[in-house]
Symmetry: D2
Subunit: 324 residues, 4 copies
């Protein structure tokens, strides 16, 4: 029996992720030819893409940069009023960066940063993707035809970033944006060293996966795209194998969240995950599942040990280093 508190549902879902890449055409080729996304448009230096199940115009933005890493992570608000409420809270927090014109289908957008410096944005108005010609699906209740190219991932799923102080960042996202914590790892002092946050009943939409061992701010561990079943994560590994894409880890099952994962690197060095979600968290009063450090040292669900790179490599690399 749990006490009632009033959840905030002002953030609807993750809407778009921007990746920085020193080799935009190679990165684009990975997303299009290997993962199966479609290019939607080019604006300025950026290329916009989407997975076949994403309902909005574009869910991935590739932007040229000297180094790989994460650009802006954009969240869609639940309503115009919800947007105003969250912007007010962000401004009150002192981490607001101001209003911007949205691009590639987004209406007006408010930019901000989390305490660790990951640039984020929130918007409400959004263009839905409108298929035409060969993209038009036979069934009208899907955004476009099912992709068959490469791993044919269905939709953008989540972002996993590292930060220097997970408690500070988690508190910010929960109190200011209304994120809820589904699972967390605590060190022996009770400090969070990993936290998974969600705004949808998917069990996470944003993860602060690890306290950055290099003490660098604003780094990316990975972005994830979802497929419908574990078999399609296995199929993605088969696709990666023949495409010459180096697999970092998996397919295997996470202990935390029980998602079924596959990790690899796009050509510019950003880590990509193909995932299928384990479960929905429908309970409105869900209490975070808490793992101790000792519990987490037992490996993934089936005992799978992760390679060192998974614990040490994020983008941009702390030392300009390679992925392995």
């Amino acid at each position: 029996m749990t006490a009632g508190t009033e959840p905030v549902y002002d953030v609807a879902h993750l809407g778009r992720v921007e990746l920085h890449t020193p080799d935009i055409e190679a990165t684009r080729s990975f997303f299009v030819d290997v993962l199966g996304l479609d290019e939607v448009e080019r604006l300025g230096d950026s290329i916009f893409l989407r997975a076949w199940g994403d309902y909005e115009r574009a869910s991935l933005q590739l932007t040229p940069s000297d180094r790989p890493g994460l650009g802006t992570t954009s969240w869609r608000a639940s309503s115009a009023d919800a947007l105003e409420r969250r912007v007010a809270a962000i401004e009150a927090s002192g981490l607001g960066l101001g209003w911007e014109d949205g691009v590639a289908g987004h209406g007006r957008t408010y930019a901000f940063a989390d305490p660790d410096g990951h640039r984020m944005a929130i918007y409400y108005e959004s263009e839905y993707f409108v298929p035409d010609g060969a993209d038009t699906p036979t069934l009208k209740n899907q955004p476009q035809r099912m992709a068959t190219r490469g791993a044919a991932v269905r939709r953008l799923d989540h972002v996993n970033v590292w930060c220097r102080d997970i408690d500070e960042n988690t508190d910010y996202m929960t109190s200011t944006l209304g994120f809820r914590i589904s699972e967390q790892v605590l060190d022996d002092d009770g400090k969070r060293i990993g936290a998974w946050l969600h705004v949808t009943p998917k069990s996470y939409d944003l993860a602060y996966g690890r306290t950055d061992p290099a003490g660098v701010g604003g780094r990316l561990h990975h972005i994830a795209f979802a497929v419908d079943a574990r078999e399609y994560v296995l199929r993605a590994a088969d696709v990666f194998l023949d495409a010459g894409v180096k697999i970092e880890a998996g397919p295997a099952k996470h202990a935390v969240q029980q998602t079924f994962f596959l990790y690899a690197f796009e050509p510019a060095g950003n880590r990509i995950e193909v995932i299928t979600d384990g479960r929905l968290i429908l309970a409105p009063d869900w209490q975070p599942v808490t793992w101790t450090l000792a519990e987490r040292q037992r490996g993934q669900a089936w005992g799978t040990a992760m390679p060192d790179s998974w614990f040490t490599y994020a983008t941009p690399p702390a030392d300009g280093g390679a992925t392995s």
Copy 2:
């Protein structure tokens, strides 16, 4: 680009379904031995069960009755305040039935009916299932060990009922409870003859599946339990085959909602669906997908024709008739 309206998130999810059965032990045996649920407790004449992935104490209540059919469908509110808000709205509608003591883990509960007479209830306080002994899972982020018995369904998914006036019932559930319509079928006059409603990002939690052809009130088409992937719906059909359970339709893919389905009857005649969900609706401003009558006459997604019984049989039977 859509105009902003403020969604209501006061109903969190479907929490429990009560089934009426003239042969409670046979019905129990179907749910336990064939579907793989666990019996949790017996109170009064009722037997309470749960699927291994349901987080609450009990998600299914079997109650003896002269005829098969639906008892009370219970929805969990998002907070104690949300419960009060919805009860106020229900009372204002004139369809409230009053407060009751909750049973089998539910706190105080407010009962009501939809306009067609389906008895429903809303509650907030709820006991989580606490596993012990052989039920305790190895991973602490699931409610109990994964079931392996029979079809081993994971969780209660949705309820599909018939009613005499779908517009009237849909309007009630949306305006009074905050349900949203994800898909609908309109006849040539623009009147709804099928509507799928949701409170979670699952694309439906409640369906008014068909205008009751017999003009009877309060009838049940089916209740549904979810498994993780299409392969497990196929496996459920294999389990049904060897268990001597008559399959009414499927496994196949719905056109509406694209869920992958299998229909059969429990021994007392209530229709049961095993399902895997097709997709999440994360858009806060989703506009209902509207199908015309002509479109729906094309059969299910892959052209599968449903048997007559699927269009004519609900519980309690209109004429005391059998399932086929």
Copy 3:
């Protein structure tokens, strides 16, 4: 406990099927774009194709013709001596058609007909497919890279033909070629009205699926291509749906053989099956599973009723009729 008889293993497997088509480019497009085969070469008027898991140079030959239907079905012998033995047996049967030069990778080939007039051939020498460039797989133990285009079927599986007298044809293939019967359907007089034959431990390589209701000789019911798991048969149905390919039946599970099936028509009207095999028959003294007519009238494994066309349409059509 069964008496020992000496099986003959002179036929190794189905090697190639030739299809007649009045619209070869449309038929080719179906096999390449929808099923995912590759075009290997063109010789004379014919186009040769292969599935990614077929080890020989070409497993499918498309040949222009006024009407759809089956050309030559070619079986690979187990050795050069085995070829000579089978040719001697065929010549003794009086149904031999003589030696021919093999095409598209086949060495010398002996042509014959079954009693119903289906043209067949047997050969031993065969070129293995040699991938180069973008076809070269990462793992050397597969013939080429895994296909990802369309349904991406893995290999040619079997041929199902109709004939006027199934006993006569079955006896011929067993006594002359060494085929074994895995399952059969008998009418009330004990006469076969369906028979499934195999030379590999796959439970069938050739089926005399039905006594031709039109009394026509040499007709084709379908050719089948295999995928690795039931999920990929479902995925093939999804691919067909968006490609506008009419599905005749399935996906569902056969009662006979328990294979998981999907039937559709290529543009020229030949019926194609996508299948995943249910089981291996490793027993050397396997006795045919015999179904009565009454048993077969119960539908497929899960009760699925097949459409009329499946029982009445073969190619070439008896009356020039359409597929439905």
Copy 4:
């Protein structure tokens, strides 16, 4: 284009494996409760079991012993004459051990050893399993009802043993019994350090997986049971997880043979694999796929590194050691 040689098809398939166990009831419980086999009978000190898809009376024999390890591996001949031919060849080899009465459904049986000392036997006469009561399947073309208990493996698949000289043992099994080599690993001197042999079109039925690093004779690496699809190997891992069974490696995809694997230990220390087969080898003139030592050091198909125990531990343990 390959030269014709005459293959020998006198061995039909692997029929039974005998495991030694110091704790027969614990071992039995693993096979029954976790893997899902059925106990068939007890004779003398032994317990006989079978998987639901095995057509013979019993495919696994558990026998008490001081140490874990492999007892007799039994192969079914293709005919009574084939049995005589192979016994003559074995006797000529000098490794024959003589005729025995078969047990638990096997007729007269000839025992022998491979050069490394693994005890084997060959038989032809065999009782088919006859289901009764709750075991009788709805479809008559399967041996019994589909199991649903635990991992519910379908059939015995293969045996993988270590030996001191793989060339010697491989030559013996090919020349004396008619096994064929599908894949092999050669060291830099061209000597085999791994070989996979088959008598069925499954790509292996017997593996000499590694030159025994401890120089001990007659040791077992693992026995394997097959399931129908990769998803069921994943499900087996989930079952192992909740049953407290330590997973040694996998689920993952082998590079050699491309089978999808999961390794664990039964309570007495014998290694068990749950597997789904990657492909059939239908070519009668298949030339072994040869891997170099360097190629094999790249890990499994997707880069998975195997734990040390997988390369060093066999039963009986060389030093009485534990599994890890």
